[in-house]
């Protein structure tokens, strides 16, 4: 699996994501700078990492979503290339319009940084096939703007179509229906606030994130 990790000024989880991808796939991802207009040839997977791209100016993810590389990412995602946005990456994907809704300031106003319990709501996606539906996993969050909001019709559609991939099992940030991660309508784009790349080996204090990358690799390689 040949993967690309997009790097913006202010990304700070790009290396964590690259290490996770290399450990699981055995292949170093291409690190792609936000000013590049094109992705490398033959990319099977795109990762948009966490961080604080452009210092969260205007709105979290707003500036990054308009950078040159995002046009290429959008084209690739529209062609069906699996694309994940983690934390700031999720914010970038909503700002780009690849995922519905918006991520607003946490309801408690505080930056939340701790491991949280998540329920895997749908294990039938490209990204979640390594889990069982209904499984509880523990993955850290670290964000100020993770409060997922969308209009009721959109939320109902996400639920009805099985596009809520992960849900918090506890109150974290005020997200509508405790949504932690969602899929696009074709199932090849996932955005989530928790950081699976931070729990891939025992030394991290947990390995619940590793199955996401392993499941993805199995599906993409199949």
């Amino acid at each position: 699996m040949k993967s690309a990790v997009i790097v913006f000024p202010g990304s700070n989880c790009d290396r964590d994501l690259a290490v996770a991808l290399e450990q699981v796939t055995g292949r170093k991802p291409e690190m792609v700078w936000h000013k590049d207009a094109d992705l490398p040839e033959g990319i099977d997977f795109i990762g948009i990492p966490g961080g604080f791209s452009y210092g969260d100016y205007l709105r979290s993810g707003a500036m990054a979503a308009r950078s040159p590389i995002m046009r290429a990412v959008k084209d690739a995602a529209d062609r069906g290339v699996p694309t994940i946005g983690i934390c700031n990456g999720f914010q970038v994907l909503t700002e780009t319009g690849l995922l519905p809704g918006a991520l607003m300031r946490n309801a408690g106003l505080s930056f939340v940084c701790r491991p949280v319990s998540l329920k895997v709501e749908n294990s039938q996606s490209l990204f979640t096939s390594g889990y069982e539906t209904g499984q509880t996993i523990t993955v850290p969050v670290a964000h100020h703007d993770g409060n997922y909001q969308a209009d009721e019709a959109t939320l109902d559609r996400l639920e009805a179509e099985g596009r809520v991939a992960f849900r918090y099992l506890e109150e974290v940030n005020g997200s509508a229906r405790r949504i932690a991660g969602i899929l696009n309508d074709t199932g090849n784009v996932l955005g989530l606030m928790p950081h699976p790349e931070r729990v891939i080996e025992a030394a991290h204090g947990g390995t619940d994130g590793r199955r996401l990358f392993e499941g993805l690799l199995e599906t993409v390689a199949a």
Binding site: L58, R59, A62, R66, G101, M104, N106, N147, Q149, G174
Partner: protein, 79 residues
């Protein structure tokens, strides 16, 4: 030519910052504040002849996230 763009949260969208400001005002003893909503003011210095539709385009494509925000444009012709 200058223009001001006011970006505000849509009605019904939860505004945690507005709520916190509201609580702080009450904490300072200001009675009679029914609600607070926080937004943004963006000032643009534009080439003469920039059309309304150009400014609207700027708002839709970047300045406001129309999923959650409304915007209002105020032109200051001779400022």
């Amino acid at each position: 030519m200058k223009a001001r763009v006011f970006v505000t949260l849509k009605p019904g969208v939860l505004d945690p910052q507005g709520k916190a400001i509201h609580h702080a005002l009450e904490g300072l003893g200001f009675a009679g504040v029914n609600d607070v909503r926080a937004g943004k003011l963006i000032e643009l210095d534009l080439a003469d002849g920039t059309s309304d539709s150009d400014i609207e385009d700027m708002c839709r494509k970047l300045l406001a996230n129309t999923v959650i925000e409304n915007f209002r444009i105020e032109r200051l012709e001779h400022a």
